[in-house]
């Protein structure tokens, strides 16, 4: 699954889905990533600007990857899961 991310909320959503897909609890992710469970909760709910570093820690622990590309002009090129 591919997540187009434009806001903190989007990112939080993507992270939550990835975590659930791996059947991890916030607490487990916390000990894996070094980020506190409380902080993960806030980030997943998109509660305001987290720090980049923190997000990268989570991304790494969840074995996700982030790519930056030029915005596809034709709105959606079809398959992304935009939310």
């Amino acid at each position: 699954m591919k997540h187009l991310v434009r806001t903190s909320k989007n990112l939080g959503h993507a992270i939550r889905e990835a975590r659930k897909a791996k059947n991890l609890t916030q607490k487990e992710l916390a000990s894996m990533s070094g980020v506190w469970q409380e902080t993960i909760s806030k980030i997943e709910n998109g509660s305001g600007g987290a720090k980049l570093e923190t997000v990268f820690d989570l991304i790494a622990a969840l074995e996700l990857e982030i790519t930056v590309t030029e915005r596809s002009k034709g709105t959606s090129d079809g398959l992304e899961d935009i939310f």
Copy 2:
């Protein structure tokens, strides 16, 4: 061009390239995005965890998009510009 991003430094690099590709100065980007030129400089040089919001502001102004996907197991699937 597609940038695989794992660290703040990567992101900064991607942002700088995108800015240059659009022939914008940091100052111009600053007034477009509402982020200070000094802050842009720091972010482009990957000087520590910027805030997500700030980065999203730049991403939006540069008409880039961020996608989050599962990490491709087979190292590189070939074409990304990893740095």
